[in-house]
Amino acid sequence: MGTPGEGLGRCSHALIRGVPGSLGREGEGVAVDLPPLDLAKAQREHGVLGGKLRQRLGLQLLELPPEEQLPFGPLLGDIAVVHGDTALITRPWSPARRPEVDGVRKTLQDLGLRIMEIKDENATLDGTDVLFTGREFFVGLSKWTNHRGAEIVADTFRDFAVSTVPVSGPSHLRGFCGMGGPRTVVAGSSEAAQKAVRAMAALTDHPYASLTLPDDAAADCLFLRSGLPGASPFLLHRGSGDLPNSQEVLQKLPDVTLVPVSCSELEKAGAGLSSLCLVLSTRPHS
């Protein structure tokens, strides 16, 4: 089961999925009320993200091809929850997004992960409602994820405590909080974010430091250890172009190399860093 905490973020591969043209077209997405989006810019951002993952972080990058029928395909963080050697294929709240799982499942399977799937018709789970802290899971009960979905997370990752956190507001749990280090939770300053953080603090057996960022979206960051053990871990986060206010606070995080990226255009489609890529290790126990 690895070493808790210290194993957080260990990864060798990253999985992304290209941005289809359908993402930018109004009415074609699931959420019709999304603001219009500059498709080219979104694709550019996506490309840069892939580049950083590969070159800056040194990860093996796997890119699934975009599919026009799956406008939200790039948000594959909603499609799977990966920890250790196990990948839980989710059952997204939006029925239109459920076909997205196929490609992701296959890829993860090919990578040698144990695939778990949600058979329960009553369960809904978006992957970005799941936060793994290195020691335990928190599952946000948001408008996308229900109790049953959370229960399946608990069933899948049995070694860990899985706690539910009510999430209010318009975003997923990961939309406003993330891990800034093995023992550090970063969270936005919105009401919803702070509430969730308090709830988590009450539920955990492990003390975490908590860092509050001005912007919720800035807390949607990825703590990654892609290098050799002992090498400084990375924090993939939204850069100053996107969220200038939060940069200074992020500097406070100790012992991480900050890797800023931008995804302000993709954000219009509801994407965040946690949803734009899946990271995993093919040698979870090494």
């Binding site: 050697d85 109790h147 959370a150 229960e151 009510p166 057996d205």
Partner: protein, 1048 residues
């Protein structure tokens, strides 16, 4: 001697026969006989039992004695204090046994006579038996009857062979039957009667000796069984020690014995007799880990770790400890390494692994992976493999979590997990809430409900009580016990003494009696023996163990007693306060002071009292508190009932993110509780105001003077310092009386309280009661006027109806409670009385007390002045005064907002002066921070010292103006030797809010307690509890018995 021996042998034979032939018939025979001789006298008895009697000669005196005992107990039993009674009951039991044995034996007498000749050998054995018994008893610390001892000694001389194993067996069987039949007082009595009648003393004796052993089986962690014979009256500890000895286990505090009853498993209480806990025969136990060490690497011995491993393997294989696939594989591989050693391809063919069970659903794939990993562990010693196993197992989220099925207030199925850190709430596999021990103020259960009272969350103003519904009463009690034990084991340095001042103990007296983790760690550091050799058995056996099922899952309908049980009911409240008094007295030795303290608490606690009446009930150490909702809270409470309801809704799985933090699973009843408190406070308010009037003009600086003034006044009425206890009681009663004057709903409450009170004192001292009453009368006129005003506030109470069920419950509960205390049903009351007496006596014995006031101040947002000068809570009185001044100031400033409400509780205290004697007044003020004056009441000989440490900083503005008091609450908790009263005040001044927490920690104990250490610990804890606050002031007040020299 010869004769005696002869008789003995006869008996033996009879027994044998009975055992083989008639054992089953016995019960029937018994019944008629028992009816025959209610009033038989010793001499008469002899004649009926002639056959055995003939043989007997020496034994007659003895028999007489025996007879005497039962009769005595019968007659007097109701009036003698419980401890005395207990002895008696022991004897009775023995006698009983004898009788029983005897009865069946009679028909067989002839045969027995024939067989006399054989007796020689048997004699020896008998004697042996006796001797053994005696030994055992001594070991147990049980008092054996003189006669018996003598007898055994004498017979012991004969000691030759010992081949009466058969006999013993018989005895066991019979004993078992007895057990079934007995168990209730009434039955016992009949048996006593029988005894008298029968008078076959020798027979009785013999029989009883034999009967007293009961076969007992313990299933060990490796699946093997350990059998032994236990004396019938053996305590759990005896068996446990035997088992540990058998296992060669020294670090045994982590373990315990489980027994199954009505499909539920319960821990055998080591301090109690087994037979009182285990109703069913045969006695079968499983040896299990009771407290999972959070860090097994800190265990001293490998053998301990080994047993822990065995337990965990069971837990895992049974599914109780869920693991992921990977973890199953990993742990399985360590198991193999530990039990089989290095992987050997020749020896370990593909089948070797399927003998082991690693997981509830073991697959081929899993086994293959296990083998794969096993190969990589080459070179690990068994002990190392075990350690690795534990290192991984301990991280599992459910490691050491004891799950109990329950429902929340909405009837949703949840599980309560008790663990080292606190209480976890699960729905399905999901953790939906968590209450760390420090957050829990009180745990109680009543009927099948289990309640926890928790500190207010950060943004909340009031504590909440959360109720859970357990499948039944027993389950609730078991959960409560497990909580008490876990809390004690993991959180306390040393276990709390079982309640000494027994006022409080109307409810369960249960406390964890073993060593705490801290103690056991200390002890195991001292282990100095070569690592014991032990054989690791194959864990395949493990899966066979009976232990698969989680403890306490099942419903049990057998418990015949009334469903509920409450440990502290209406009277309990009274008792509670009394306890405090008693305690206080002990601690302080200053009678005068005690009442005051009492009252301080009382004031706030009126609510508490009410609560107690309605709901509360059992206190475990941590939670002797009472926090009462401040009025503020209550208002809020009322105002937001609907909101609350919404909160309740949230406890359902449906996500209600917004209100998450406020989520409550409190049943309605609990809410009303809050309201009741409110009610009470309202009532009392007027009183306070009145009292306040004199104080009003006085400014803080004058506080000291005020105190002084007041002190004398207070002393006046109670000049007879002797009746410390009384005084305190009286105070309480007065309050109650006052209340009585009030209107309907309240009256109900009051009455109950009164009743409770009555119950207590009657035995102890009626005089006291009278006094109280008179006092009440005195007070009542003055109070009456106020009542009118209070009644208006009463009108706020609309849902009075909701209270009623509680009342009813309460009353019902008393009975139930008693029944629940399996053994001493009726003794409860007597105990009470006797305890009261005891306490009074105990007072002078109290040796030394330290009172420590730690004030912590948090400054939220910005700096602010100390609101109202520092209060050193040393004395209730003083505190009250302070409070008043504080309030006064607020008013003066015109900043009054919630003020009245907030201060209310404290003000109540002021109503007591007539009753209270003040022994000592200490004031530390903004202006002067050291201690002040002490007045000693003549009778009490104490030495007091007060030292104040204060951090210079925050003091500055204290004197001048206080902000607006937002909330004030008081929380009291008790642990081993300390009583902590936490007083939290929140004030706002000029937009700056300040939270001030004052803790008064009373450390009580004899000289052997290291007070300084305790103090240090207390301060440390205070700091830990409020990491974000600063300790601004520490006042140490030490009170010492003159006789004993104090360490400083």
């Amino acid at each position: 001697m010869t004769t005696e021996v002869g008789s003995e042998s006869e008996v033996n034979k009879q027994d044998e026969q009975i055992g083989s032939d008639t054992a089953q018939e016995k019960p029937d025979e018994e019944a008629p006989e028992s009816q025959q001789n209610p009033s038989s006298e010793p001499e008469e008895v002899k004649s009926p039992t002639s056959p055995p009697a003939a043989v007997v000669s020496k034994s007659s005196p003895r028999s007489q004695k025996k007879e005497k005992d039962p009769s005595e107990s019968r007659g007097i039993s109701r009036f003698i204090p419980p401890w005395l009674k207990k002895q008696k009951s022991y004897t009775l039991v023995e006698v009983k046994d004898g009788v029983e044995r005897k009865e069946p034996a009679e028909p067989l007498l002839e045969e027995a006579a024939v067989e006399k000749d054989e007796s020689a050998a048997e004699e020896g054995s008998m004697a042996r038996g006796d001797a053994e018994e005696v030994l055992e008893r001594k070991r147990q610390g049980v008092r054996a009857d003189e006669k018996e001892e003598k007898h055994s000694v004498s017979s012991a001389e004969t000691q030759p062979a010992k081949e009466d194993s058969k006999e013993i067996e018989v005895a066991k069987v019979e004993g078992i039957q007895e057990e079934k039949q007995e168990g209730e007082a009434a039955k016992r009595e009949t048996k006593e009667v029988q005894t008298t009648e029968l008078k076959a003393e020798k027979t009785a004796q013999k029989a009883s000796k034999k009967i007293k052993t009961v076969p007992c089986k313990v299933i060990l962690l490796d699946g093997t069984e350990y059998s032994c014979d236990l004396e019938k009256r053996a305590t759990g500890q005896i068996l446990f020690d035997k088992v540990c000895e058998q296992l060669n286990l020294l670090e045994k505090d982590y373990f315990g014995l489980l027994f199954q009853e009505n499909d539920q498993k319960s821990w055998l209480d080591p301090s109690k007799e087994i037979k009182k806990q285990v109703r069913n025969l045969p006695w079968i136990f499983t040896f299990n880990v009771k407290f999972y060490p959070p860090d097994p690497s800190q265990l001293t011995e490998d053998i301990t770790r080994y047993f822990l491993c065995l337990q965990l393997r069971q837990d895992i294989a049974s599914g109780r400890l869920p693991c992921s696939f990977v973890t199953h594989v990993l742990l399985g591989s360590y198991t193999l390494q530990a039990e089989l050693g290095d992987y050997d391809p020749e020896e370990h063919n593909s089948d070797y692994i399927s003998e082991f069970q690693f997981a509830p659903n073991q697959t081929k794939e899993m086994e293959e992976k296990v083998i794969e990993l096993h190969k990589t562990h080459r070179g690990l010693s068994p002990a190392q493999a075990d350690s690795q196993f534990l290192e991984n197992a301990k991280r599992l989220s459910m490691y050491g979590v004891d799950l109990h099925h329950a429902k929340d207030s909405e009837g949703v199925d949840i599980k309560l997990g008790v663990c080292a850190n606190g209480l976890l709430i699960y729905k399905d596999r999901l953790r939906i809430n968590r209450f760390a021990w420090p957050k829990i103020l009180k745990i109680s259960y009543k009927r099948s409900n289990f309640y926890i009272k928790v500190r207010p969350a950060e943004l909340e103003q009031f504590e909440s009580t959360i109720g859970f519904k357990l499948p039944n009463h027993r389950a609730a009690k078991r959960l409560w016990k497990v909580c008490v034990e876990h809390h004690t084991f993991y959180r306390l340095v040393s276990p709390e003494q079982p309640p000494k001042a027994k006022f409080l103990t109307l409810g369960s007296k249960f406390r964890y009696s073993g060593r705490t983790q801290a103690q056991t760690r200390q002890a195991s550091n001292l282990i100095d023996r070569p690592a014991p050799y032990f054989e690791r058995t194959s864990s395949k056996r493990v899966s066979r163990s009976l232990d698969g099922a989680p403890v306490g899952v099942v419903d049990q309908k057998d418990f015949s007693g009334p469903a509920g049980d409450v440990s502290v009911y209406g009277p309990g409240i009274a008792s509670h306060s009394m306890f405090q008094d008693g305690d206080g007295r002990r601690e302080f030795r200053s009678p005068t002071k005690t009442p005051q303290l009492q009252f301080t608490t009382e004031g706030k606690k009126n609510s508490l009292r009410v609560e107690g009446e309605n709901i509360y009930v059992r206190h475990s150490n941590l939670m002797l508190e009472d926090l009462d909702k401040t009025q503020d809270d209550i208002l809020k409470h009322q105002a937001s009932i609907s909101e609350l309801k919404r909160h309740f809704m949230e406890s359902t799985p449906e996500p209600r993110p917004n209100e998450w933090e406020k989520r409550r699973i409190t049943p309605l009843s609990q809410q009303t509780q809050g309201r009741k408190d409110h009610l009470f406070k309202m009532d009392i308010l007027p009183v306070k105001e009145k009292q306040q009037i004199p104080a009003a003009p006085i400014v803080e600086e004058k506080a000291q003077e005020m105190d002084k003034k007041r002190a004398p006044t207070a002393e006046g009425p109670c000049s007879g310092a002797n009746d410390t206890v009384k005084s305190s009681h009286e105070t309480l009663n007065v309050v109650e009386a006052k209340k009585q004057a009030e209107v309907g709903k309240e009256e109900r409450v009051i009455t109950e309280g009164v009743n409770g009170r009555d119950k207590v004192p009657p035995g102890s001292d009626p005089g006291e009661t009278r006094k109280v009453e008179s006092l009440a009368h005195k007070d009542s006129p003055s109070l009456s006027s106020e009542n009118s005003s209070s009644s208006s506030s009463d009108s706020e109470e609309e849902d009075v109806g909701e209270y009623r069920p509680h009342h009813r419950v309460t009353e019902g509960t008393i009975r139930e409670e008693q029944e629940e205390n399996e053994e001493e049903l009726e003794e409860e009351k007597e105990e009470w009385a006797s305890k009261v007496v005891q306490c009074v006596e105990a007072v002078p014995e109290a040796s030394s007390v330290k009172q420590i006031t730690v004030e912590t101040v948090v400054q939220e947002n910005v700096v602010s002045q100390k609101v109202s000068g520092e209060k050193s809570l040393k004395e209730g009185d003083e505190q009250d005064m302070r409070e008043e001044t504080e309030e006064e100031q607020h008013r003066v400033n015109g900043e009054v907002s919630h003020v009245d409400i907030d201060v209310l509780p404290e003000i109540i205290c002021c109503s007591e002066p007539p009753v209270v004697k003040t022994e000592m007044v200490t004031i530390s003020d903004a202006s002067q921070r050291t201690e002040i004056s002490t007045k000693e009441v003549p009778i009490v000989q104490t030495e007091t010292k007060t030292i104040t440490y204060e951090s210079p900083q925050i003091d500055g503005g204290a004197g001048g103006d206080a902000g607006t008091l937002l909330t004030a609450q008081t929380i009291t908790s008790e642990s081993v030797s300390t009583t902590t009263t936490t007083h939290i005040t929140k004030t706002v001044k000029g937009g700056v809010s300040e939270t001030r927490i004052e803790k008064r920690i009373v450390i009580t104990g004899d000289a052997d307690i290291d007070h300084d250490q305790a103090l240090a610990q207390a301060i440390k804890e205070a700091k830990e509890q409020h990491p974000d606050m600063a300790v601004t002031r520490v006042v140490v007040h030490k009170e010492t018995g003159i006789t004993e020299e104090e360490e400083e």
